[in-house]
Every structure is written in structure tokens, then in C-alpha cells.
Assembly symmetry: C4
Homo-oligomer: 193 residues x 4
């Protein structure tokens, strides 16, 4: 099976997801800066979601570099990840309108929980078709960031019911942790273009 | 003629189709979970359509792997498939709003009938340029799933006029049948990445 | 300069153009077939535009197959074509709402005139960097279809002011002429995948 | 790390950005040419933004041709550029509605300032992983156009508060300067397809 087309399709889906989110960022009705100010929460949530999706693309890119083989289960595990990422614009639009309310903030965290879990499943599905001393296995290692993120999202969803702003802080913190490039995989791949 | 660019274009169209459907999934107006509940039918129909389009991508991916040559007729047969897939967001948005009404459920089935028929035509058009003992011919075999799906969609459209929920059940059942990976082709292709 | 990335970018733009047109095909408000009937003009115009854009992709695909070199002028000639194709959804949405009115039908023809002219310029720009006995030059030949289409669109725009339905007939006729695959280029390229 | 997938992802994002802008170009409500006239400012701003994004794609295409290696910092510098480009449809839609008002014109310039700065950072990040006598370093040279554009956007933003039309003139002038193809890189690359 071809890794190339899996990458190409994932790239296309992620590119559309990251781009169409801006369609939900409606231009202000008026023509003053105070009209733009009303859009600031939407804009900040958009930036958070852009960073999240960019992190997924970067990690997916790194991950696929060390993949030696795929099978039907990998295709579906990848499709599952793309499904959750496709819901990010929906969650972003809702939380952008109501950044202080429990339901939208919990829903946003739930979508991220789904995406994080899907990414974790994808790594396990890939490990299942690679040997224990493959570059992939070495690169992933104990994968504490992947596991921690899933726990953090779950905590965020729970906390959103009590205090949405703390949940938002958790989401931002997870993004910051991931912004550090995934050296695990960069370590084992040559950096020639 | 280049198979690569046919794959790339199909990937891009399918990626956009699967992703823009979420644009029709409008965020709730209010900020409570009961507002989100109103969107549950839309969300379920979205999931069904996502699975359908994902199945088409997976099968298309498998199918093209064993293709040895294409011609102008294949390009148009493929374009016909993409046309029907491009209508899926329209049918999804309508059925998502009215999941209990005959017309939207029949229309949804009609679009799937079109896509299923188009996929079947695509396989026949490909077989016409391959020998009877080509990997493609072996991989497709008697293609009972393809034929059965087309029949099931036709039945679904008819049943939708009497009882939309049964039609919906048929659509879900077809998706489940296809979720089983197409081993016919996986059998004859190496799984190296 | 890389032909591959020019193809990839054009594919992506054309794939998005052909797909997002369906976003302007709003689902009916009601849930009956008569509500769907109101959308029939939009749907027919959508089909016409889908066919047009599909023809451009097919011809672009064929054309690029025999291209041996490109330069900066080709990149911009191609971008000009993509610009006019990007206006097709706008023209489609307007004519779909008002298929009997002069202005939308003339505007639709004007966009097609722009796209047809841009395609013609692209072929001339490519010929300028190929020798007179190159496969490209042989494949294009006298290019009567390209020249005739541009004339037909111009006539269509003019006629739209008098009788929009005749203009629509001209647009459909041009699409039918182009649906015949471009044998000129298929003749000179191998059909191995 | 793979340059190819970076190009493919950037192509897809830029293709979506350049294409979805037309979704904000709503078809006129009425069916006369005077209804279309109301859309002329939107259309002109759309053309300006299309040209801007096309220039970025062209320059990105040229730039990546001479890149020999990338690293994690390049991926993020590129993502930063894509972020600013993703805001172009938002800025275009707002300025298209209010082309004579300070806030939208300043906001448009601010987005271009962000994109121009991001492109400049991308070139510096690339230079950091190339030697001083690499084709990349020779091709970029002193990069006066990149530096001048950033200054021009900053001036445009400031001027917009006083006289929006002058700011618009500056934006158009920068686009014209860039429309001249980037001979610096074309000089050092073969033009075989």
C-alpha cells in the first residue's frame, strides 16, 4: 500500500480544515476598530485552533517519515484522526462565539480529546506493523506527550463545567507543550530536503 | 496518461468534499448543551456522510493501486464519480435538517445511488483497458459488494417514500458492509509503504 | 522550473473550485420534493459549471503531459487561467438564481470568455518555449476548438442581452463540443499509467 | 526531512486560500447590471488579494526550488506564513465592504505586513541552514524587494488612518513591483520541466 497517497490525502484534508476555519471568522459589520474588537475572541480562538491543527500536521509529517509500512487498519486509524480534525472548525466557531460558557468550551475540549485519542490510536496501529527496534518504535519511545495531552483534554472538559477559563488555559498549555518540535523523530531522520 | 495526476486530483476533490461538509454543520446559536442537542441529527448525518466519503476514498485508493493504464474514458468515468460525491454535502445538509421526511431521505439515497453507480461504471471502464488475468480483474472479482450497494440504494430511495427511517437504516447498513476493508485488492498488493 | 508543482497547485485550485460551487447550492428550506424543485435551475447550472471545470482540468492535464519546459511567463499565464476559473462559482451562483435574466447570463458568459481566452494565452505562452516540431506543437495543431470556443462565448455574451436562453444554449453547446476528449494530445502520448 | 511534503501542504493551503475568497464575493441579489455594479469594489479587492496570494505562491515556488535542506524551524516559519495568508480572505471581505474606511484598510495592510514579515523570516530561517555560497544565498542576494515591501505595508497601515485611498495605492504598487518575476532565482535554476 502506498504511504504517499495517504500523506497526500491527509495533507489535503488538513489544509482545507486549517483554511476554512477562517470562513467562520465573519468580517465585522461596521467599519471601525471597535467593530473589529468584537471579533477578538473569535480571532484568538482561531489562532489557538490554527496552532493545534498545525501541530497535528507537523507531528503527522514527522511520524509518517519513519513509517515503513501501512495496512488497512492504518488507513482507518488515519481517517478517524481526520474525522476529529474536521470537527475543529465547528468547535472553533462555537467556542469563538461563547468563550466564557461551559458547553462550548467543554465541546471544544471534547473534539481535541477525540483528535488526541485518534492520534494515539494511529501511533499504536502503526507500531503494530513495525518491529520493536524499528526507527518508528525508537522515535515514539514512551510517548509521554501524547498520553499527557489526552489526559489534559479530559481534565479540560471536566473543568469547563466549573470554570471555562481554566479549561481554556489548559488547552493553551497543551498547545505550548507541543509547539516544541518533536525531536524524538527529528533525531532519527536525516534533514536533507 | 498519468495515473498520478488522476489520483492527486481525485484526492483533492474528495478531501474538499469530506471537509466542507462541516461548514453546513452550523454552530448552535445558544451556549448550552441543549442548543447542541438540536444539532445531533445534523451531526449523525455528517458522520454517516463522512464514513461514506471515506469509504470511497479508501476503495478508490485500493482500486488505483492495481491499475496499469488509463484512458480518456477513465478520466470521465472518474469525473462522473467526483460529480456525485460533490453532491454529498448538499444531500447531507438537507437530510440533516429533515431526517424524518421522505424527500430529503430519498434525495440522499439518490445521490448515493449515483455515486455507487458511478463507481461501478469506473471499475467497468478500467476493466475494459485491462486483460482478464490482470491484477485488477482478479482483485475486483465478481464485485458483489459494488452491485449489492447499488441495489440497496435503489431500495432505500423507494422505501424512503413509505418509511424514511427504514431507508436510513439501509444506508447505515451499506456503510457498515463497506467498512470491512476491501481485502480483494489488499490481497494482491504488497504492503510496503 | 518544476512542472510538477505547477500541476499540483493547479489541481488543488481546480479541485477546490469544482467542489465549493456546491456550497452555493443551498439545501431547500422545506422538506418536500416541490421545495427541491425550486432548486432545479441552480442544480442544472451547477452541472453545467461542473462540466466546464472538469473539461478545463482534463484539457490542462492533457496539455501539461506534452510540456517539456516552463518559465515565469507560463506560471503567470496559468495563474490567469486559475483566476478566471475561480470566478466560476460566483457566476454560477448568480446565474443559478436568475437563469432567465440578461445580466447574470451575460456575466456567466463573460467569465467563460475570460477562462477560454486565458487557456488560449496559456497555450501560446507554452508554444513560445517549445520548438515548432515539439510534441506540444503537433498536439495543439491549429487549435480550432480553442479559438471557436472563445468566439462562441463572445457571441453568447452579446446574445444574452437579447435572449438569455439562446446564450445558455450556446454555452451548453460549447461544453458538449469539448466533452469529446482531446484526441490531438492523446494521440501523441503513451497511455501507460 | 522532506521538502516535498512541505511544498505539497503549502500548495494545498494557498490553493484553498486563493479559492475560498470567492465565497465571500456574494452574488448580487437582483438580476441587473446595476446590482453587479454594487459588487465592483468587492471584485477589485478580490483581484488585488488574488494577485497577492499568487505572488506568494510564485515566490514560494521559486524559493523552495533552491532549498537544499529544511528543519523544524523552517516548518514553523512556513506555518507562520500560511497563518497570515489564511487571514487574507477575512481582510479582503472586510475591506471589500468598506474600501474607504480607515479601519478595514489598515487591517488589510496589517495582514499583508504580517505575511510579508513571515516570508522574510522564512527566508532567514532557510539561510540559517544553508552556506553563504549556496544557490539559495546567491538567489536571495540583498532581498531589497522583501525588505521594501515590509516597509511599504507598515507605511500603508499608518497612512490608512489619514487617507485610506493612499494606503490602497501603496498596496497596489507593492503588488505591481512583485508581479515582475523573481529573476534572482530563475537565474540560478534550469528551466527544464
Amino acid at each position: 500500500m502506498s504511504r504517499g497517497r495517504l500523506e497526500a490525502f491527509s495533507d489535503a484534508v488538513i489544509a482545507v480544515v486549517i483554511t476554512i476555519m477562517v470562513l467562520d471568522l465573519r468580517p465585522p459589520h461596521g467599519d471601525t476598530f471597535s467593530d473589529l474588537t468584537d471579533r477578538v475572541p473569535n480571532l484568538l480562538v482561531y489562532i489557538l485552533s490554527f496552532v493545534y491543527v498545525a501541530i497535528y500536521w507537523n507531528n503527522h509529517h514527522h511520524l509518517l517519515q519513519v513509517v515503513e509500512r501501512i495496512n488497512g487498519a492504518v488507513l482507518w486509524a488515519n481517517m478517524n484522526l481526520l474525522f476529529w480534525l474536521s470537527l475543529v472548525p465547528f468547535a472553533t466557531a462555537w467556542m469563538g462565539e461563547h468563550p466564557r460558557a461551559s458547553a462550548p468550551v467543554a465541546a471544544y475540549g471534547f473534539v481535541q480529546l477525540g483528535a488526541g485519542t485518534a492520534y494515539f490510536i494511529l501511533t499504536r496501529t502503526l507500531l503494530a506493523v513495525h518491529s520493536a527496534d524499528s526507527p518508528l518504535a525508537h522515535a515514539l519511545g514512551r510517548d509521554w506527550k501524547g498520553k499527557l495531552s489526552v489526559v489534559a483534554y479530559a481534565v479540560g472538559v471536566a473543568v469547563a463545567f466549573v470554570e471555562p477559563w481554566i479549561a481554556l488555559g489548559i488547552y493553551v498549555a497543551v498547545a505550548v507543550v507541543w509547539l516544541v518540535p518533536d525531536r524524538r523523530i527529528e533525531r532519527v531522520t536525516p534533514n536533507e530536503a
